[in-house]
Amino acid sequence: MLLVMIVAIPLAMTLAAMVCPWSPWLGRASGLASAGVLALGIWLSALTMTTPRWGAAHLMRADSLSAFMVVVIGSVSVLATSFTSRTMSQEIASGATTARHARHYVILMQVFITCMLIAVLSANLGVVWISIEATTIATTFLVSHRRTSGAFEASWKYVILCSVGIALAFLGTVLIYYGELHASGGHVASLNWTSLMAAAPHLDPRVTRLGFALLVVGYGTKVGLVPMHSWLPDAHSQAPAPVSALMSGVLLSVAFYALLRFRAVVQIALGPTFPRVALLMVGVASLLVATAMLIAQRDLKRMLAYSSIEHMGLMAVGAAVGSPLAIAAVLLHVLGHGITKAVLFLSAGEIYQLEGTTEIDRISGLLARRPVLGGIFGFALMSLVAFPPFSLFVSELSMARAEVDAGLSWVVAVSLACLAVVFAAVLRHGRHLLMGSRGDGESPSVLDRSAASMLVGALVVCVALGVLSWPVQSLLWHAAHQVTP
């Protein structure tokens, strides 16, 4: 019942937005709906700590990993949807959009959130695939919301590349299903997580190997891992800020969640080496490519997008290790990165409103002119490059420790080298944006108190996650144990 309720909240909000005309209240209501999802997610985490819960005639299942993902989706969508009425009112005022499109935007945001919630709460790994593919469809129109030729180009690339990529994941799913069917003697197979885990020791190694390779490339496309990452910077830079926040903050991680589940199955079937090599290859490649692209980046939102690829690469490397410590660190990283990236994209949206551009060269002296916005952006950048006491520092440190424990010291060396370069590159761009002075006095938009306090609150949460171990730590451990056999 609880599981159905979690999905029903954004669904009800979708229906409400379908019948009501646009007003700022619609935007505020969708913020409240996300807060409801977050609250239920936290409750669900407490309930699933010991035993998983089932719902909707065994179509839905939540263990602590699913519950944790609901919390992540809830937290980032609270941030993103709270900015809905603000962003849309600004766009309507400036003539960039109409009330009709603003309403479509609210509807699609809620459909998007619903799909992600179904993906993490579904018992069936086939349904996980369906909902992740459905997020592509919902977000296409959100990416092209501005209706410029650049936005349409980005959406086109996004749909084509993601559909092509995720089709591979479907083929991989079919092969795993075939293996399951064969392992059970051709009688019962369902792609259900529990039955798949039960059948895992008997899966045929050759079929499983091929299937997992397809899954890594396929879901890797949605995660934004090299070699299928090229849609990501375009889509994230063209979408409205709250959409970029949701896509970068959680959508990538939801696709990553599917990989974590399959990794566990494959680890039982094949032993740890094969999934480790596969994930290390895409993870390290993503790290290297993203680092190289970050150095010379000239656009603020594209810089943030490449940083997402970098963080996803780090998570893939962490998942490759596969020990409970590594997975727990990856999950903490998912949450910390989601919140930090949401704050960054939302404040980048404010900067765009203020300056009319996201080109780094054309923005400077933010801190002097807009101390609150500049300060939030600066602290969020520090969180992004994993300054202590932000939680990304803790998760990166724990991942490095897990990698050393697993005898992968060379991986730690490569990651640290990349992180050092990223650190320097991001801070150089950040300094250009924040420091210096440019006296042009008047600016059209002011970050109001409630919006600013949301962003500051989110950064405080990031610090709290890094400093306090209770109550997140036990949740992380339980969640990690779900996918570490």
Partner: protein, 218 residues
């Protein structure tokens, strides 16, 4: 009965791959879309033949669904999109037609090599034909990479999907029904979305549509 089943399966599954290769051979966009429709019908025939042979009701429903969706609705949508520009042809593919056909031959051989490790697990009349599905997938990817028109790209995407469908029916008599249903709806929606983008951009009359635009880059 059994030989009729085997030959029906051979013919229908063979038609799926044959249609895929035909899409590489023809240049008229409308012709390509019609061939895609034939492929959808053959794919549903594969599902129906298997369903009748194995007395599988879920697969029978799936076959009907595929018949309507991939045989009629999706080709219909694409035909309507291409009607805006009746003379549209794939004029400058990155790889010309004869070379594409040679490539298709290579891809078919490759798919036999890849499929051998899968089918050896449970050899049967159906799994024997899995290479045809794999080849359809590869031809679809080839089309996506080498054809420039927006409609051709969408056709490539659907070829990949049909190929995966064929592999799924032959290997496992279809994935669980709920997954089949959901993935069919997804495919339909993707086609609708892509068609919408194509129309919104209003670039039908240009030869190298969206795919060559380079506004966004680093």
């Amino acid at each position: 009965m059994n030989t009729a089943y085997v030959s029906a399966l051979d013919v229908t599954a063979g038609l799926v791959l044959f249609a895929a290769v035909m899409t590489l051979w023809r240049r008229g966009v409308r012709t390509i879309v019609s061939i895609l429709g034939v492929q959808g019908l053959s794919l549903s025939a594969v599902a129906l033949v298997l369903a009748i042979h194995e007395h599988d009701t879920a697969l029978l429903v799936t076959g009907g669904l595929v018949l309507v969706l991939k045989g009629i609705v999706i080709p219909g949508l694409l035909l309507r999109a291409s009607r805006l520009d009746p003379k549209s042809r794939e004029t400058r593919p990155l790889v010309n037609v004869p070379a594409s056909l040679v490539a298709a031959a290579v891809l078919i051989v490759l798919s036999y090599v890849v499929s051998a490790r899968i089918t050896s697990l449970a050899p049967s009349d159906a799994t024997r034909l899995v290479p045809l599905g794999m080849a359809t997938i590869l031809v679809g990817y080839f089309m996506l990479v080498t054809r420039r028109r927006a409609v051709s790209k969408i056709v490539g995407l659907i070829l990949v999907d049909n190929g995966i469908g064929l592999v799924a029916y032959l290997l496992t008599s279809g994935v669980p029904f709920i997954v089949e249903l959901g993935s069919s709806i997804d495919v339909l929606l993707v086609v609708v979305v892509l068609q919408f983008l194509m129309v919104s951009m209003g670039r039908h009359s240009d030869v190298d549509v969206l795919t060559e635009r380079r506004e966004l880059r680093d």
